[in-house]
């Protein structure tokens, strides 16, 4: 069994969001980068659990410049076996997905896992695109994944409920909360990660279908209106008359 986990690098959740170059570029000054939480906590950890129970091999892939290497090394330290970095910097989902699919076609993975979404670009897009480009069925926003022989059983979120689905491998899956519990890398993992293979591959030529023309910050909140705990009727009145939400 071979599993590919797609790893992206995102600013730490507490990072200050600011833009430079006339609001066309995210300011990385002083920003700490982490593995996108959905990729690490759910997709990667579930893949590692399957590695332990089913004797699977876990490959990692990231599309990004050399500055993504600390993040991919951390994913190796958690237990990935081998990593690939496609040396290209892009925020076009189709471009990124095409790179991942091009690699996947040469490796015959049984399962391709992505996170539900990146917490910076919030596309929820790359998993489905990779599935389509690699010719695999796609189960999106899955909160549970079990594998029995060549069948995967999953739970996925739908409006107002949950579905249980079955699909034959190979399959592409986007992972969310529920699929696994976060792990912390140990010293042995960190040491081992230093010598695990990290191959840099050249990107394939594909068109970009979107481009960011500018970023904006939301207008500042007007400030909170405080109401006395002894006058909750006032709050109800404000919610009705001023905010018009009840």
């Amino acid at each position: 069994m071979k599993i590919l986990v797609c790893i992206s690098k995102t600013p730490d959740t507490t990072a200050k969001i600011a833009f430079i170059d006339n609001n066309t570029k995210f300011s990385e000054a002083g920003v700490q980068f982490i593995i996108n939480p959905y990729d690490e906590w759910y997709a990667l950890v579930r893949a590692l659990e399957l590695k332990e129970t089913l004797n699977a091999t876990v490959h990692l892939i990231t599309v990004g410049g050399a500055d993504t290497e600390p993040v991919i090394r951390k994913a190796l330290a958690l237990g990935g076996d081998e990593a690939f970095r496609v040396d290209a910097d892009s925020h076009d989902s189709y471009f990124i997905a095409s790179q991942i699919a091009a690699h996947a076609r040469s490796e015959n993975y049984d399962i391709i896992l992505t996170g539900k979404e990146t917490i910076d670009y919030n596309g929820s897009s790359i998993g489905g695109m990779v599935a389509e480009l690699a010719g695999l069925p796609f189960v999106s926003i899955a909160s549970k994944l079990d594998v029995n022989g060549t069948t995967a059983t999953l739970r996925r979120e739908i409006e107002g409920g949950e579905e249980t689905v079955e699909v034959s491998l190979p399959v592409a899956i986007s992972a969310q909360k529920g699929m696994a519990e976060a792990r912390i890398p140990n010293m042995r993992g960190i040491m081992a990660a230093r010598t695990k293979p990290l191959k840099v591959i050249a990107p394939v030529a594909v068109d970009q279908l979107t481009s960011v023309t500018s970023f904006e910050l939301p207008p500042a909140k007007a400030g909170v209106k405080l109401i006395s705990p002894d006058n909750v009727e006032e709050l109800v009145k404000l919610l009705h008359e001023e905010a018009k939400v009840i």
Partner: protein, 323 residues
């Protein structure tokens, strides 16, 4: 040229988020001087289909195939791709709900049509086709230009008010070429959260944090939610401690909600929590600590003990509703 909108249904009812997409798509069609066609999969009543006209669709393609009552998203992609061709659609609109998140990206890759996922405004077509969306978990916006000939936009749920007009839509049966072999994913069980308002569709959400001390205290929160007709939610430590079910966890690593009103009770307002709720139109914070960071993100606040304030608030809401 036309605009095609996927209007997805659940148990025979068009989802509210889908109505938002239909209305959005109709406005895009107006902007482009063309017509909006909605597509519906599965068994749905004639009235329900025709009602899409009130949200701006001039035509509804209906695939009345019982196999599509529950959505196998791969089959959905195949059918919509066929409809795109039939209707000569250049812009395809989805809701950025669970089914949209599954289908839109697959369709994007199949048609080589650039996708903006989670749009919060109509496209600006003065120079290209630029769509605004949230980035950095709602802490900023990006304006994204779609440069491909065909374009896909998915609309962030609860962003646009849906307003029924008086339009009518012609319903047309559509028989795409699908076979049993296309159903690669077998849906073996569907569980609905019945009786309650589904969190991601709710207009009002009442949410509790560690400040409520334990699961046995959730009654006061549920009473308030009930009085308001709200869904209930919680912070991550609350779900992690199994005080509340996991599907109530909102924030960076849980659900994102953007109701009209979010009431936060005993939640400190950590940045990871805010990331999942800061799109709410109005935020009310009830916390005994005046320094709690949540107050900075709130519209209205009460500094006080939840155990005293919340029951009083519930009574006040009941009194107001009784009028």
């Amino acid at each position: 040229m036309s605009v095609l909108i996927f209007a997805d249904q659940f148990q025979g009812n068009i989802k509210k988020s889908a109505l938002e997409a239909v209305q959005y798509g109709s406005k895009v069609a107006q902007q482009l001087g063309t017509q909006a066609t909605a597509i519906v999969l599965g068994e749905v009543s004639a009235d329900e289909l025709a009602s899409l006209g009130r949200y701006g669709a001039s035509k509804v393609l209906h695939v009345a195939d019982a196999r599509l009552n529950e959505l196998e998203t791969g089959v959905g992609v195949k059918i919509i791709a066929e409809a795109v061709e039939k209707e000569n659609a250049d812009v395809i609109v989805f809701s950025h709900n669970f089914s949209g998140r599954a289908i839109a990206p697959q369709l994007s890759a199949r048609l080589k049509a650039g996708l903006v996922a989670g749009a919060i405004a109509l496209p600006d077509t003065s120079a290209g086709f630029v769509v605004k969306k949230n980035v950095f978990s709602g802490k900023a916006f990006a304006n994204v230009n779609i440069t491909s000939a065909k374009k896909i936009v998915s609309v962030l749920p609860n962003t646009f008010n849906v307003e029924a007009g008086s339009g009518t839509a012609a319903v047309e049966a559509f028989a795409p070429s699908i076979s049993d072999a296309d159903f690669k994913i077998k849906i073996t069980k569907v569980e609905t959260v019945s009786g309650e308002v589904p969190l991601t569709e709710a207009e009002i959400v009442v949410s509790g944090g560690r400040g409520l001390k334990g699961p046995e205290n959730w009654g006061i929160l549920e009473d308030l939610a009930h009085a308001l007709g709200a869904a209930t939610a919680c912070s991550r430590p609350v779900a992690d401690a199994h005080w509340r079910p996991h599907h109530e966890h909102v924030g960076q690593t849980g659900f994102t909600v953007r109701p009209n009103l979010y009431v936060a009770i005993g939640i400190s307002g950590a940045i990871q929590h805010l990331a999942g709720v800061n799109g709410s139109k109005v935020i009310v914070v009830i916390n005994k600590d005046a320094e709690a960071p949540f107050f900075k993100a709130a519209d209205y606040g009460i500094v006080g003990d939840a155990f005293e304030v919340v029951p009083k608030l519930t009574e006040a809401v009941k009194k107001y509703k009784g009028k």
